[in-house]
Amino acid sequence: MVSSQNESNLLSSEGDSQRTQYPYVTGTSVIGIKYKDGILMAADMGGSYGSTIRYKSVERLKQVGKHSLIGASGEISDFQEILRYLDELILHDNMWDDGNSLGPKEVHNYLTRVMYNRRNKFDPLWNSLVLGGVKNGQKYLGSVSMIGVHFEDDHVATGFGNHLARPILREEWREDLTFEEGVKLLEKCMRNLLYRDRSAVNKMQIAKITEEGLTISEPYSLKTFWNFAAFKNPTVGAEGSW
């Protein structure tokens, strides 16, 4: 039983025995794909506040340790907190000083446990996360939702991306995509999201992680296309229609 508001009345103590929040500042879709040399991930830089697009320079793709990349949608403050947890995780991993380092599969598992345990306390971290990376030549790409549902796949997406990007990826993804092909594929998906997702913003980053390392691109924008006869004269052929 989930309540969406914490009802405080004079008769109940600050028990917080039932608590679910709601998100305030949110990021929209993240898309991730495996490609020949590693993982590619894309996300725009928008932070929405309800229906207002309040922040347009939010970095939603971040490095995690040596081998992983995380992308987040949902409540940004919770993502910022997750980054702090991951910081601590990597710090302790480094402190072992044993030459070993956490790979993407392990980080994904850690995040799954964190998200699921918060869900069980009715106090979720309101995010959907994409976690990708390469370690010892093995590519890994997974996702975790705010209730702890987790997947591992060749291509993943969050939010609207599930509905708009994944069908495109199902058709056009291949095991041996080059970097250029991968970027074009992601951009095709992101452009679609820009047309159809109200919370999308035309400023995005694409991140690449390979065995060699990680790069996150500078923010950039995509061209959009509106110059169609059917757009200029939408009611031709159906006079009187709207």
């Binding site: 969406s4 929040q21 709601y22 305030y24 500042v25 229906s51 309040r54 409540e75 403050s77």
Partner: protein, 237 residues
């Protein structure tokens, strides 16, 4: 799969206020209106929403007056101890992160949006926005409060990087004044606080010194002044 954010029905609402923080070449300027409302009644028409945390860090408070005041008091207390231990002025980043900690960890109880602004010798002038929920965002300028809804378009057009102090001050005063014109929950005077390497300056712009916007008319002492003026005919049948 993903839970939809229960969007419009539960979309957060900030209560009365317009608050602004902008950086300029040399420091920051914080600005705010002065109206505190309880429901439809204006409880205080000359409040001071720009609050000092340290010599070099100030904040603009919006949303619940009680929540923003208690957060200020706690952060001022923590910063005071931090300054003693550190042996030098706290940085704006530390102040902002302390606000974030309180805002984030008490997100279910607090309803306050805060803009942190200040100057320190490492990073110069900095502005941090901390909206509902406890997200922290460093920005060249920040706007907040219910009146800020009317300013997004204005700033999209009018904001430029690297303004002078005078340009920035005029921008802030103009913006708060525009928001006051349209937001019922904002009003009164415009207060500004400028923080730079030289120190802190407070300014006060009473309502009658602000420019008039669309459909607003000049203020007079009385109708009689108008009637007795050299240009008659204010009454018509």
């Amino acid at each position: 799969m993903d839970r939809d954010a229960t969007s419009d029905v539960n979309a957060p609402h900030s209560m009365g206020t317009t608050i602004i923080g902008v950086t300029y070449n040399g420091g920051v300027i914080l600005g705010a209106d002065s109206r505190t409302s309880t429901g439809l009644y204006v409880a205080n028409r000359a409040s001071d929403k720009i609050t000092q945390l340290t010599d070099n860090v100030y904040i603009c408070r919006s949303g619940s007056a009680a929540d923003s005041q208690i957060v200020s008091d706690y952060v001022r207390y923590f910063l005071h101890q931090h300054t003693i231990q550190l042996g030098q002025p706290a940085t704006v980043k530390v102040a902002a992160n302390l606000v974030r900690l309180l805002a984030y960890n008490n997100k279910n109880s607090l309803q306050t949006g805060i803009i942190v602004g200040g100057w320190d010798k490492y990073e110069g002038g900095k502005i941090y926005g901390i909206p509902l929920g406890g997200t922290i965002v460093e920005q060249p300028f920040a706007i907040g409060g219910s009146g800020s809804s009317y300013l997004y378009g204005f700033f999209d057009q009018a904001w430029k990087d690297g303004m002078t102090r005078e340009e920035a001050e005029q921008l802030v005063v103009k913006a708060v004044s525009l928001a006051i014109a349209r937001d019922g929950a904002s009003g009164g005077v415009v207060r500004t606080v400028t923080i730079n390497s030289e120190g802190v300056t407070r300014n006060f712009y009473p309502g009658d010194t602000l420019p008039l916007w669309h459909d607003e008319v000049e203020a007079h002492g009385s109708l009689l002044d108008i009637l007795n003026a050299s240009n008659p005919e204010p009454m018509s049948t």
